[in-house]
């Protein structure tokens, strides 16, 4: 199958090794990717969706129209991009007045939108279209002997009616099953479904409280599991859970927080034998403890 790759901005700008991992691993599983030339910011919830519907939906429409012109569905990794695009599409697909208004705006740019393109998350493609079995059969190396824990990106769970793809959004399992398909043991813990708290204004406006919030999650991982790594499938979860551990260590004068964090496609690409220097090189918490054992 072929999909239109929507990269957002954090992935290509700050963590391009994740982009490399996605571009390397998906075609091996029969998912070809076509770039969204001239795409714009998703738009982020803190931007146009916080000012007015016209600018929000015109930007969603702009992005959707790029994929629609190619006759492709969109694939996204960033949780917020996924949610913003998918909610934007939902507004347009269910409200003729909004769609007409957006087409009026898009017309000025020579574009139009029928809202045929769907917005899909990379973990959903891997889970539903590729399947765990094909992943296990394709990989050359495995995570056997390693324990991981999963951070489910809430933007891919809620509101389940619009963005969801799990059989039960209260008991998600896609990322766990995908990680097990790589040979790892996935441990569960009490705060598994707690948000990382890294997106939006929270961590910027009240960093002390936000850090205490994510600390409760990391403490639960350390106390309740044997985790060698955390696996995510959202660029914001990845950057936040990785970077905050160093800050926590500094604030508390310890070195207790050192769990490597990977995007799922990075682990997948590593198990396919791609070069760690290309697909998993940018991080704050060193990843050797995991990479050396694959």
């Amino acid at each position: 199958m072929e999909l239109c790759l929507f990269l957002g901005c954090n992935t290509p700008a700050i963590r391009p090794d994740v982009e490399r991992a996605i571009r390397a691993s998906m075609p091996e599983l029969g998912v070809d990717l076509s770039d969204a030339e001239g795409y714009v910011c998703c738009p982020a919830f803190g931007a146009f969706p916080s000012t007015d519907d016209d600018s929000y939906l015109a930007s969603s429409g702009w992005n959707l129209s790029i994929a629609e012109a190619k006759g492709l569905d969109i694939m996204v990794q960033c949780g917020s991009c996924y949610s913003s695009l998918r909610m934007g599409r939902d507004h347009l697909a269910h409200d003729e007045t909004k769609l007409a208004r957006v087409n009026e705006l898009l017309e000025l740019t020579g574009r139009k939108l029928e809202c045929k393109t769907k917005v899909r998350h990379v973990s959903e493609i891997l889970y539903n279209e590729v399947g765990a079995q094909k992943i296990s059969q394709t990989i050359k190396k495995s995570l056997e002997g390693l324990h991981g824990v999963v951070q489910y990106p809430c933007h891919t769970l809620f509101p389940s009616e619009i963005v969801g793809f799990e059989e039960s959004p209260r008991q998600p399992k896609a990322l766990r099953i995908l990680t097990e398909a790589l040979g790892a043991t996935v441990d569960t813990y009490s705060r598994e479904l707690q948000c990382c708290g890294g997106a939006g204004g929270f961590s910027k406006s009240t960093p002390v409280e936000a850090t205490a919030f994510v600390k409760s999650k990391l403490d639960a991982i350390i106390e309740e599991t044997q985790a060698d790594f955390i696996v995510v499938s959202c660029i914001t979860c990845l950057m936040y859970l990785d970077n905050i551990q160093k800050k926590l260590n500094e604030a508390e004068g310890t070195d207790k927080y050192h769990i490597p964090v990977f995007d799922y496609n990075q682990l997948l690409a590593l198990c396919m034998g791609f070069d760690p220097k290309q697909v998993a090189s940018i991080c704050t918490v060193p990843r050797n403890s995991v990479i050396d054992r694959i």
Partner: protein, 167 residues
Amino acid sequence: MDFSESDKDLWKAIYNTKDLLHCFNCSTCLSGCPASHGNPPLLVRNLARMVVYGLEDDLLDDDTAWACVSCSRCEEMCPMDVKPFEMILSIRKWQSANDETRVPPSIVEIYKRGYTQSVGTNTELRESLGLPELQTITKMPEMLKLYQEMLMKTPVVSENDYMFSEE
């Protein structure tokens, strides 16, 4: 609380859905909300009350809606289908429309280069990872101009056009 100056129709200006009036203060939207741990906390339930009661001045001054991380837990769990996350966005929209200092600076970045940050300029790093050059809108001036012209027709950009002018 002083209700003497409250505007009973304010909810229609901010979040015109009857579902909001079904809110019965159960606080489900607070459990699991990361920003409810903030200081001051984001208390979705209270914001819903303020909108329904029409406490215009208090609402204009309230920063907490901007602490929302958009996780949509409240949207999922609210038993009365208030769609609290949509309400949060609606409060921000109303604040931005009534107070230009609320307009998020990130939209100016998006207007100027298509993104909140510089995308596609880290060419050396990208090359070293074996990545192709990105076809960003920043590199396509004609297309960027069309995007800007389109945005100029939207309320937030046309009403605050001074923020977007090239100096």
